[in-house]
Symmetry: C2
Subunit: 349 residues, 2 copies
């Protein structure tokens, strides 16, 4: 019947577009980025690219010309120390953020089945968004799901990733059906997956609320961004409330802090460092830190929490710090991403 | 519990973002456009804008500089005739395409409920996409569904609309969650709505396949576009097959044609004019024309089919032409749009 119909409505023209419709779906997991190697020569250009983004260092209007200079200056002074930090967490598979992102893409692609390709794209460094878009275009895919791997919206993370994506789509004339999935900080399957990862880690390490504090540590942000309307703090705290409600852990043994400050402006607090000292001063000797704003382990979780804050809390303050892993390729998290993508794919077909 | 949690995790900072998260959803119904008035002074700039789009008149690479000149030249010669055509279909409410688009937006907004605002944006003329984006931004909405009102993808319709949207998003730095819904030519509720509108019209006019031919007339396109990979013809014919399967009308009494050619290149055929003459020559005296590629009645349906082709078929060929209305604000069609949007909204929350 289908075939008869097809014959019936042929126009007499040859079949001009035999390749068929625009084929398949591309899912792009977007993350921040990583240098190619843990040495100053590779870290310096990565830092310059990162710090030159006006969404990352927002100078007053009259001073924006100074952004590239400032970026180079900071990169010059920080490259060596930053490279040393990366060196401490580097693995046989290279950058943890990149290898974990690739694991996530592999697992999600396997979950989604044959019609979807999953790509990793970094806002800074490689693989660049431009190179990934080129690959998608070369495969003739026109339905693209952009999935920033941050549960909480912030200008310097999701904002800049979308800005780069829209600019590329506009400049290169790509007429794709684009779907951006960036509002998932209260998406049930994500909350469930995060709660399960925490619960598992607490159980495996025999941690109890009587002896341990659960500390959610989120990446900080200049307070001026929040004042200007960025929903980051609100979304982070909403996630933490929703996740805490799924844990068997009393709320007075749960704390929240903000890490990874940079520069002299006022940042969201309290700082993770401050809270760790406060806990030690009150006599708490065990803490489990959940890197709540990260979905893949990276220099901020593995080095900053796992090495730097651990040194502070264990060596200087005499406690024991447990670092809860990021969601990484946890099957529950991959299933959550699958659910997020499939709802959208459902809307496209 | 929610409130307690909120208190528990307050950071001590004042509530910096009391306006709450990015509020609500904007749905943008995108269509081609219309002049402001049916006179040559208003039609000329509209035609210049339309014809200056390199997706509409695609000149060879070395000749692109000539596009604005050619646009002005064609607009100069066509403005008077085009204005006369518009004048014949103009209503008390102004341009049919615009007033029908506003009806669609109103009906869809009522269906979607309070959390959604629905806007009409035109690729050429007013309201411009830029002005609509400004309004959305001023309302603090960050979740935007772009819905080109063409069921079938073509570069000169959906392609250019998306190009304009992405360029605006990139230039203006709008970091919205954007969802593009342009793959709905086989979306079941759309097919059902289109079949129901056709069935109703046939019944109301007591048309039977013994005496009448059902002719699907789609907007034509240069064959070179199809050869370059545009899926338009394939999607149009796939829709027609799927809709025909829902009608109680024998497939040998169904025809397909392409209308609205412009310029001297090779266009998709057979032309609507040609098929009408062929039907008359074979002795068919009744035809019901379905403007398949249009979702709102406009100059191409009301004037080109309803006046021009009617004159040909009735006055010159002695038959009777029935123009099936476009989907317009048919409740079934609005419900289909609602289903399309809600699936996507579901994926966003």
């Amino acid at each position: 019947m289908q075939t008869e119909g097809r014959t019936q409505f042929r126009t007499g023209l040859p079949d001009l577009n035999p390749a068929g419709a625009r084929g398949g779906i591309a899912v792009v997991l977007m993350n921040l980025g990583t240098p190619d190697r843990p040495d100053p020569e590779a870290v310096r250009p990565y830092l310059v690219e990162f710090l030159s983004d006006p969404e990352v260092i927002s100078l007053p209007r009259g001073w924006r010309w100074a952004t590239p200079l400032l970026a180079r200056l900071i990169a010059f002074f920080r490259a060596k120390g930053s490279a040393a930090n990366y060196a401490m967490i580097w693995t046989d598979r290279g950058s943890p953020l990149l290898s974990i992102s690739n694991d996530q893409a592999f697992a999600l692609e396997r979950e989604l089945g044959e019609s979807a390709r999953v790509f990793v794209a970094m806002r800074y460094g490689r693989p660049s968004l431009g190179s990934v878009f080129e690959e998608i275009a070369s495969e003739g895919i026109h339905d693209v799901v952009l999935l920033p791997m941050y549960p909480h919206y912030a200008g310097p993370t999701i904002g800049t990733a979308l800005q780069a994506a829209y600019a590329l789509l506009g400049q290169t004339g790509l007429r794709w059906n684009v779907h951006v999935l960036s509002s998932w900080h209260l998406f049930e399957p994500y909350l469930e997956a995060q709660a399960a990862v925490i619960t598992r880690h607490l159980a495996e390490n025999h941690l109890s609320p009587e002896k341990s504090v659960l500390l959610f540590s989120a990446h900080s942000m200049p307070v001026s961004y929040i004042r200007a309307g960025d929903p980051y703090q609100m979304e982070v705290e909403a996630s933490i409330r929703a996740i805490s409600g799924r844990l068997e852990w009393p709320s007075d043994r749960i704390r929240i802090s903000y890490q990874s400050r940079l520069g002299p402006v006022e940042w969201l607090g309290p700082s993770t460092e401050h809270v760790l000292k406060e806990l030690a001063a009150k006599g708490d000797r065990q803490v489990a830190v959940v890197p709540i704003s990260f979905t893949a382990d990276c220099v901020e979780t593995l080095h900053e929490i796992g090495i730097e804050y651990r040194k502070l809390f264990e060596h200087e303050l005499g406690g024991k710090l447990h670092l809860v892993p990021a969601l990484n390729d946890d099957p529950g998290f991959i299933a959550a991403l699958r659910a997020l993508v499939e709802r959208t794919i459902g809307g496209m077909n």
